[in-house]
Structure formats: structure tokens, C-alpha cells
Symmetry: C2
């Protein structure tokens, strides 16, 4: 199969920030490392396991940094992500999602012979097929039952958890706990809304736990939570493992959540923007400027990127263009628009799918103004759809 990665890297280690070709996906390494440390400290202080979601960063290098900071492993959503990270030395991977295809399950079972692997299930069909695949290959892995705690996507009704867990055990597989993630709660803007959603989710988990107790199945772990709500899950006493992903980079959308004035468990955990798209002005009109980064460079499922330290509104200009207009009343003492060749830094609306658009991270040390490129990392699981 022909490789089709763009051979031009945007920068090389040692290059000044100014030399990074555009558009490029740039990490402020100092900010990212502070984010990694802050989340690790939060989990550690509370005796919670941290298993960050690698669907955000898609990078074995960052997964290893997270594990070095104390994470027990990482989550992924797809088998091909697990395969790519395992191949690059990530030793403990949880597929926090259902896989039901027989061909894929044979690959899952094979991978379970190479790394510590676990997976979520939410149907008898899925459990039976997984068990058959593992039996055929003679491998083992932990199995978690996913319950729907309010998101309305995957997961069974909590009251059926016992039945499914028994089915897992009936095949001689190890039931390792409950997958309980409320994706829809992560971006509720007000603390009250998020509190209500996670309160509801916790009640659903307790229903599932009761269902497990009825059939004498022990619930060893409840895993879930995201960057928008993890303090609530942590304070609930219900969850034992946190799966936050976006904290590593923080995107525009998460930054727009309103902070809780009385955070559960005390003390805010502050995360910084660490992921940027470097763009460049390529055309200037009478009342707007155009940068060379459109939605082929940054995902817009959660809205437009925000211009970093620039007083401009960003408007969608299609796949390859972004349109800038002055955000505020023009200050007569300074030019209202940038000029051709000017650098414009963008904070993506949503980090996970933005990362998926790029082949490489350019890691910068020392800040975006005066820093130097320290690392060029492949986005290892970019395009891992299957």
C-alpha cells in the first residue's frame, strides 16, 4: 500500500517558531506539561486511577508522558488506534467502545496477546462474539459493561448490567467493571447543568451496581468522566477511574464552560491552551484578511477557532481559508488588519478532530513568540477509523 503522508514536515527540531511553515499543528510543550502534571496531581491526591483518553492526542509519545506522570494506561475508541499505539510501545490500552464485527474481534483477540487490553460491551451479541474470538486465539482480556448514563448513544439500560455481566462471566471472561461516560454533560456551560447531569449519571451507576449485586457480581471499577465534569465524578465517590482527554490541550469549546464558583472537592484545576494552529495571512481585502487555514486545518464541529492574542473574529472561509475581521472598534492608532505574511495563531474549537487532520505535531519549547522547536511527533493514530 502506498504511503500518502505529506513528505514536507513544517519544521525541524532547532528551528525558531518563526520558521514553522503554515498551516501547522503546534504544541506549547511547557503548557502541555503543566496540564499533564495538574491532572495527574488531581487524580493522585484523591486516590483515583487516571486513564486519559488517547482519542484526543492520538500519540504514543504523549501517552507515554501521561503514563510516566502516573496514568495506569490510556483509552481509545477504535481497534486500529489500539493496534497503532501497542505497536509503538503503549502497554495498557482500554477500548472504551463496542466492537461487534467478527473480523475486527479476531484482531482484538490477537492484540490481547501482545499488550494489556480491555474493552467495553453493551450487547449479548457483542459478548458472545468477543468470547468466541478470544477462545479461538487463546487470549484473555478484561471486559467492562457500558451503561447509558444519560448521553443516549451506546450502553445498555443500567438495570440490565447484571444480566450482561453474568453473560460475560458465563464465557469465563473477567468482568472488570462499568463504563459510565456522559459525553453530553461535558460541554453544558453552567456548573448547575453539569452537576445535574453527573448527579443523574451517578444515580444510573448506582442502579447498575444494584443490578450487579442482585446477581452476585462484584463491581470492581466504574470508569468514565471527561475534562468538563471530572471534578464532579471524582467527588461523587462512585467513579474509580477518570478518562479525561482534552485537558492535555484544552480547546476553545472547553474553555467556554463556566467555572464552578464552589468546585466539588475544593480547588479549581486550571488547564491552559496548549494546542494551536499556526496560520499565515495570504490575502488582504478592504475590510478583511484571509489566512491559509480553513476547516481542513481545524475541525469546526464545535464551532470556529478563536484567534489567540489578536483582536479578530474568525469566520469560516471553507476548507483552505479563514476570514479575519476586526473584533472590536478599530483603534485609530494601529492598523485594523494584519498584512500579508503575518502569523496568526488559532485555538481550535475542538482538539480531537483537529489533531486528526494533521500528520505531525510541532512541539515548541519557550512559548509561541520566542520559542524553539523541540520535537516533531507523528500523529500516530490519525485516520485510524476501523
Amino acid at each position: 500500500m502506498t504511503h500518502n503522508v505529506n513528505p514536507h514536515t513544517s519544521a525541524r527540531p532547532g528551528d525558531p517558531v518563526a520558521a514553522i511553515d503554515t498551516p501547522a499543528l503546534v504544541i506549547d510543550l511547557d503548557a502541555m506539561e503543566r496540564n499533564l502534571a495538574a491532572m495527574a496531581a488531581f487524580a493522585g491526591e484523591r486516590g483515583l486511577r487516571l486513564r486519559p483518553h488517547a482519542k484526543t492526542h492520538k500519540s504514543a509519545a504523549i501517552a507515554k508522558l501521561q503514563m510516566a506522570a502516573g496514568a495506569v494506561g490510556v483509552c481509545v475508541q477504535k481497534l486500529s488506534e489500539a493496534e497503532a499505539l501497542a505497536e509503538r510501545g503503549v502497554p495498557d490500552i482500554y477500548i472504551s467502545n463496542e466492537i461487534v464485527d467478527v473480523g475486527k474481534l479476531a484482531r482484538v483477540a490477537a492484540l490481547a496477546g501482545r499488550v494489556r487490553l480491555s474493552i467495553a460491551v453493551d450487547s449479548p451479541t457483542g459478548i458472545d462474539r468477543l468470547a468466541a474470538a478470544l477462545k479461538a486465539q487463546g487470549t484473555r482480556m478484561d471486559v467492562l459493561v457500558e451503561i447509558d448514563v444519560g448521553h443516549g448513544r451506546c450502553g445498555i439500560a443500567p438495570s440490565s448490567a447484571g444480566e450482561l455481566a453474568r453473560r460475560v462471566e458465563s464465557h469465563g471472561l473477567r468482568f472488570a467493571g462499568l463504563q459510565a461516560y456522559h459525553g453530553g454533560a461535558q460541554h453544558l456551560r453552567s456548573p448547575a447543568e453539569r452537576q445535574a447531569a453527573i448527579g443523574h449519571a451517578a444515580a444510573q451507576v448506582r442502579i447498575a451496581q444494584a443490578s450487579l449485586a442482585e446477581v452476585d457480581v462484584q463491581c470492581l471499577l466504574v470508569t468514565g468522566a471527561g475534562t468538563g465534569t471530572f471534578a464532579l465524578e471524582a467527588a461523587s465517590g462512585v467513579w474509580g477511574e477518570l478518562q479525561c482527554g482534552s485537558y492535555v490541550f484544552m480547546d476553545r469549546d472547553y474553555a467556554e464552560n463556566h467555572l464552578d464558583p464552589q468546585p466539588p472537592g475544593g480547588g479549581h484545576v486550571a488547564f491552559e491552551h496548549a494546542l494551536f494552529v499556526k496560520s499565515q495571512v495570504m490575502s488582504v481585502g478592504a475590510a478583511h484578511a484571509v489566512v491559509d487555514a480553513g476547516h481542513k486545518s481545524h475541525a469546526i464541529d464545535s464551532g470556529m477557532p478563536r484567534v489567540w492574542q489578536g483582536e479578530f473574529e474568525f469566520r469560516n472561509g471553507g476548507d483552505e481559508h479563514g476570514i479575519l475581521t476586526p473584533a472590536t472598534q478599530v483603534d485609530a492608532s494601529r492598523p485594523p488588519l494584519p498584512t500579508i505574511g503575518d502569523t496568526v495563531w488559532l485555538i481550535p474549537g475542538h482538539c480531537d478532530p483537529t489533531v486528526n487532520l494533521h500528520d505531525r505535531y510541532i512541539g515548541v519549547r519557550g512559548g509561541l513568540s520566542q520559542g524553539v522547536v523541540e520535537s516533531v511527533w507523528a500523529v500516530d493514530t490519525r485516520g485510524c477509523l476501523t
Copy 2:
């Protein structure tokens, strides 16, 4: 640089359609070939040049099919796309967009020594830098001046066309014509709106032509048009070259344009859906089913995909999931929801950025139900951002 293309292809030539792993980007080759022939015939019958936009398909294989059907070459938006297609044997490439970065322009000038290359400009700075780069490398290329014909993105005011064209010629470069593309007109739903927009665009082109005549510069070509409006540009007598891209695949958004009951120039050109995402049901709830394709598999900048030959509404379930609910009143004689493992075909909302999410095309001959995989093509310019 590590390659990071997912090593698992979803299918191999000779596989039945049922064996294609999901999610996968699938071309109905028969439908695509009919689309290629229909557009080539339209241009040919009118004596117009056809230079399809390769930003849609991102594939040297498809570019060559278009040229075999009579296209003079292809358009791209980015230098790295041009480099990748040139490397794969596409001989005539027009960068229908501005490049102003000095480092990139050195690459442009180098590429101009290897293939027939042309480019758009819209600023004195861009022209001067391009000229310097070409002089440094001793290479030549055609230069087109982009005018803003109503989209409000790149392009100068039409009345300045003469001034910029003279500047092109002052450097000893060949001014080859006007780039006049109205992106905003392509998806106006009603024929009357599209007619008004292209009428305005044609008037802008005439202003630019007058500006050129004033400074005694000949306008050899006006190039532009897209899949939503090309019959209008063709009928105007102003454009000499059509740049349509999406006609090759047709996406949900273009299909929602209302057809003109009295098409300009006579006769509709009908295009078929030829691009699909094959997905699979992975979870079923009480009132919904979940497929394994989310917006990491299909772009949603122009809305959700449409389910092909299935009576389901598609709702966004995030990066990796799509949520299906029955679209119509449930027919009691048939199950209202698909079951685990069922195949669901999706028609992407917008083809260009959907293609950009995939490493490969799976080309099917003989239809989506009973067909066989004939070709597996790399998406050659996927991720070519710079």
C-alpha cells in the same frame, strides 16, 4: 519521518462489497465514470476547457481519468497538493489560490521546472515574491490574477485587474487570464439566486476585462465555476474554462440544490452519488441504533450525511458514532431499527473534506449491493495543508 498511515486497508481487489471493513470510503466506479463522461461531454460540446478541481478527490488516479476524458489539467488549492500530484504523474496543474510565503514560493518555482504549472495572484507582494523565486530558479509559469466576483474571500477588486496584470508582465511573467470563482454561489438553493449571483460575477469579470483593456493587456482566459453553477458560467460567454470538482462524486449538499426548470444552454447534466461511507451498526438502544461512523469518517461542515436507501435520520454522535432513528412512521410489517452488524451506507454532506479524512478509496464495480472491489487507491493529497 515516521509514516503514520493506518496499515489496515479496508478491502482488497476482488473482495465482495460485504467484506469491506467499516468505516470505509467507497466509490461506486460505474456512477463516477458516468459523472466524468457527462461533464466532459458538457464542456466539449460547448468548446470550453475543463480543468476539474482536484481538491475534491485528492487523487492522481482520478485526475488522470479526468484528463483521459478530455480535461486540460487539474486545479489544486495548495502547493503540497501540486507537489504530490506532480510526483504521481499529473502533468498540468493550476494552483487556483494565492501563495505568498517566500519558502513556499521557492518550492513553487522548483516545481515549475518539472510540470506545466500555473498559479493565481491577488497582491503586488505576492507577484513580486513569485517573480523573484522564478528568477532565482530560472523557471517559468503562467500567472492568473484573481478577482473577487462576489464570494468576499481572496481576489482583488475587478477594477484593479489591469494594474496587477501589468505588474505581472513587468517582471517578464506571462499573464494568462483571470481567476473568477464564486464559491458562495454554489450552494444557493434556488436557480434564481444562483442566476443572480453568477450574473453579478459575470459583470465583475467584464469590469476586470475593461480594466485590462485600459492598460492594453490581453485577457486570454477567464477560469472558474463549480458544480452548482457551471451551466450558468458556460452560458454567459464570459468563462472559457470550468473548474468544477464535486461533480465527480456529488454530495448530499449539492444534491439539495433545486434544479433549474429552464437550464441555461439547454438540458440538465445529471450527476449521481458516487461516494459513500460504508458503516456498520455497533449498538442498538430502545429507540435508536448506533453506527461506527462519526465525524472522523465524514465531514459535517455542510451538515450530516444522508442514509442511502434506508429510512433513517442520521444524528451526530461525535467523532466515532452516528445515531440512527426511524425517519418515517414505523411500518408495523418491518423492524423499525437495524440490528447489530447491519451495513448502513452514508452519503457525505460535503465530499472534499470527507475524502480528506481517509487514507484510501475502495472502488467498487457492479453496485453497492452485489459489487466487487476493483481498485484501492490512495488519497494522495490527504493532509496536504501547506
